[in-house]
Symmetry: D2
């Protein structure tokens, strides 16, 4: 194990990799992958697997320690690619020495923004918060307070297309891996979303598919539901219809005014979005047929 | 207090009344009612009150002991009627010496039926289960086991209207107060429902308004939600759109097959329906504008 | 209704009062209070009432609008006092034109502190955050960021008594109404607690009475529980044994390390403490026999 | 795949095996097991794995289809035994062509008994309910209704040892695999429990470790908790201290009398016990150091 440069008596964090695979179910996949990793000296720490029998789809997440492999990283990657091709797998391989770079999109509500930034600072979210993007200037001071660069792109019907292009350029320049819509109140164009498949997480303030669209707390009050919810999902071209990553609810009653629902909802939005972001960052989410497999 | 005929040293159960009122909010309602009851020697045990500021509607549930009133029951009832008229209230007055008579409507699923009958036997539901009605003969044996009369009304498109008329006659003959659709898989006609406003409770196996209509567990699986729900509501002409009395959810995941969702859902359906039925029986539910006020 | 000085076309916030009473159960209490308030022209907005039959104790919370009373505030207060004496009630009367002044006690953990300050700023907590008190300097920067005065009282076994005296003097000078121990890691003396009966709220990071004392997450891990909890309670001389105001739990499993429990627990601690503080500030909590009645 | 004797066009249920292993964590375990199963033509359907880093313990559950193995069952079993020895594993291998035989122990409360029997009948519990054992005759009629043999063993201080011996003989004769204490109100001797390590499931009506011992709902009322719970655990010599399999809670308040807590608790007891029994029957539970790993 490598030496820890700061404290040589304490070992450095090991180099870990996470492999996410999905494919049509076949015999021998679990054994094939385990054998390949084991054969290169990688030590499997966690392995989570799921087979959707109805759709005959196989999913697996393997986390393994590569600090003591008997070949090198490139050779191991090549071997994994070879197995993936043999079983016609889609796969993603991530190493813990490269943190994901995240951009937070916000408008005027600040509760999810504060929540994510405080969690990041507390070590709950193992990523870099590279950027805060907004269509308003209101939350610039929050960005400064946490020392995160803030980019404002005001939108008008006339400038929207151009502004989105500028946003996309910035995201590319900044090598952003994940966009989090932390109560971003501007609808993104299909073109924008199309460039970021399954890499934009949105928080919707209802228990989807109930109350799609605007003002879900007003809709909930009007319908007289006894629980309100929040839903974190990947953004797709179809509004509020992308793959759901996480949902939760809280009890309400006839006593709750719209303001009470909004207040209770804020707590839900924060925890539901934070869980979804953390799972994505830790490579725990796979998508298929507009659904997710979450290995939590 | 009256003597208990079985054990004269122990007092009999007191005679209790429950008054449910709703009206446009005005000054002096709470005081007016309290004074009237107090003036007749009734002792207020519980009083729950709610004002919907947005709609300017007032709701109250008062439970009071009338075993020691200094007038008589009729005089008290007349006094309450007078206050109700003064404040233009809708009201309902119920006494605990008259139990509600309940008819359970079922088809082939038996879990809610067993659950309600066992709860009734355990003393959780202070009512008479007068009747089990079904469009199939399958659950006749269950009815016999609990010694409840069973009435079968098979439905075909041609006979439905006539059969519903026969059902209505039976419900009237039996002086039924509440119809519980305990997973009754036959849609009731508007005419039938129209005769029983806010006295038919249905259990829908989803978190309404998500997944209205048929096969909600299949819809939930297809959409990939992370929680499934159940909703007890008063039946209205608009299917699955009546006032919601109670809802609850349980967590699910990609691992759950349709069968797992159905299994988890059964537990939800049972508790959600049972709570709604108990609240109705205990006169805890008021309705307005297609919503409920539940004083639990 | 009084004119709003800032915008004369819009009415000013009405002057509201909250009356909390408790006493041995008797006939006529509800009517007596309602009549008195009504007689002075106060308009009852909400009334919540509870009778503990076992202990024969009566509790009530009444919120009423006094902007249009036909006497004056002093006369109304005198009338309430008179009723209270007649029924031998304990009571508390609060007006919404005087906000409670709150002191937050913290040590090094900052999650509850940020949470309360952000909620306060968002308008969820209708009080003044007058002071942050700590036995360490670590969170001074947070206090400055939210522009709240910060007072540091370092404690050593030798100086503790003297430092607590200084704290008490400061609390008195600052006319503090409520002390919130927002993960304050220093045990308060019985003398200190004795001066603030039912006005110190503590958050304990377990589902009390399970896992009293130190390191409850370690205890939970060791015992192998499937849910972890948090408890907000009034501090009493007996550690972790004061009246419970609010509790909640979250699911955990064999997969959760101590660090995971701590992370999940932080979310619980925040919401449970915030609910308890809000209920106290809104005069929704009554205590008796080491228990609480919460009119939420 | 074998032919289905009843409907030859539809394939028979496949022969499935479940392997549960635990051992000190080592390199190559996952690969070693996967390779062995795969080498014999077994098809891995599900694989769930957990490593407790603190205790350096490895746990795995593998479910695999053995209907098409290229050797025979005995050879496969021998191969698994060989791997287990190599890695010094504890293991258990179960086949779905042998259902577990379950004995339900009851006293006078019938809610858990009805619940388990109805779930069994609904196909939720894939076992044989071989026997109902009681220290009272009260629930004999329930046993008859579900056509399950009923054995009564009345206990007095003088006869207890002898009666327990008779019970043990009966359990052995009946080849019972699992004893479920479905609100059995008689304490079992250490000797009895010692013969059935991790094969006796008890339901305790509190959120353990809170409120051990008798009358937990009374204790909960006395302490003024805001949630009540239920805990299913393996019985051990230390009362209420065995490994916890499942727990859940439900909200309560000052309004709940002891009777309300008992009623709410019944629902909890039923679902918590049923989940624990199902997980045990489906070989999803591993125990170590007085804790469980549940692969749900």
């Amino acid at each position: 194990m490598a030496e820890n440069p700061i404290n040589p008596t304490c070992p450095a964090d090991p180099l870990l990799a996470t492999l996410l695979v999905s494919c049509t179910d076949k015999r021998g996949i679990v054994a094939g992958l385990a054998q390949t990793l084991s054969g290169h000296g990688a030590n499997i720490l966690d392995s989570d697997q799921h087979t959707d029998r109805l759709e005959s789809q196989f999913f697996q997440r393997i986390r393994f320690d590569v600090s003591d492999i008997n070949t090198d990283r490139l050779t191991l990657e090549r071997a994994i690619r070879e197995v993936a091709q043999r079983f016609e797998m889609s796969y993603r391989l991530e190493f813990n020495d490269r943190k994901k770079r995240v951009a937070l999109f916000v408008s005027k509500y600040d509760h999810c923004l504060h929540d994510l930034l405080l969690r990041h600072r507390a070590g709950e979210l193992d990523c870099e918060v590279a950027l805060i993007v907004s269509n308003h200037g209101d939350l610039r001071a929050v960005a400064e307070q946490y020392q995160v660069p803030f980019a404002e792109f005001q939108m008008t019907p006339g400038t929207r297309q151009q502004q989105e292009q500028a946003e996309l350029r910035l995201l590319r320049e900044q090598r952003i891996d994940l966009v989090v819509l932390a109560r971003y109140m501007q609808i993104l164009s299909d073109a924008f979303i199309g460039e970021w498949p399954h890499r934009i997480i949105n928080i919707h303030h209802s228990f989807l598919p109930a109350f799609v669209g605007g003002k879900p707390y007003h809709q909930a009050k009007e319908r007289g539901v006894k629980l309100i919810g929040a839903t974190a999902h990947y953004a797709t071209a179809a509004l509020d219809e992308g793959p759901i990553i996480e949902q939760d609810v809280v009890r309400c009653s006839h006593k709750d005014s719209i303001e009470d629902l909004v207040r209770k909802g804020r707590d839900l939005e924060k925890v539901v979005l934070a869980r979804a972001v953390r799972w994505h960052i830790e490579d725990r989410v796979l998508t298929y047929r507009n659904k997710t497999v979450v290995f939590d």
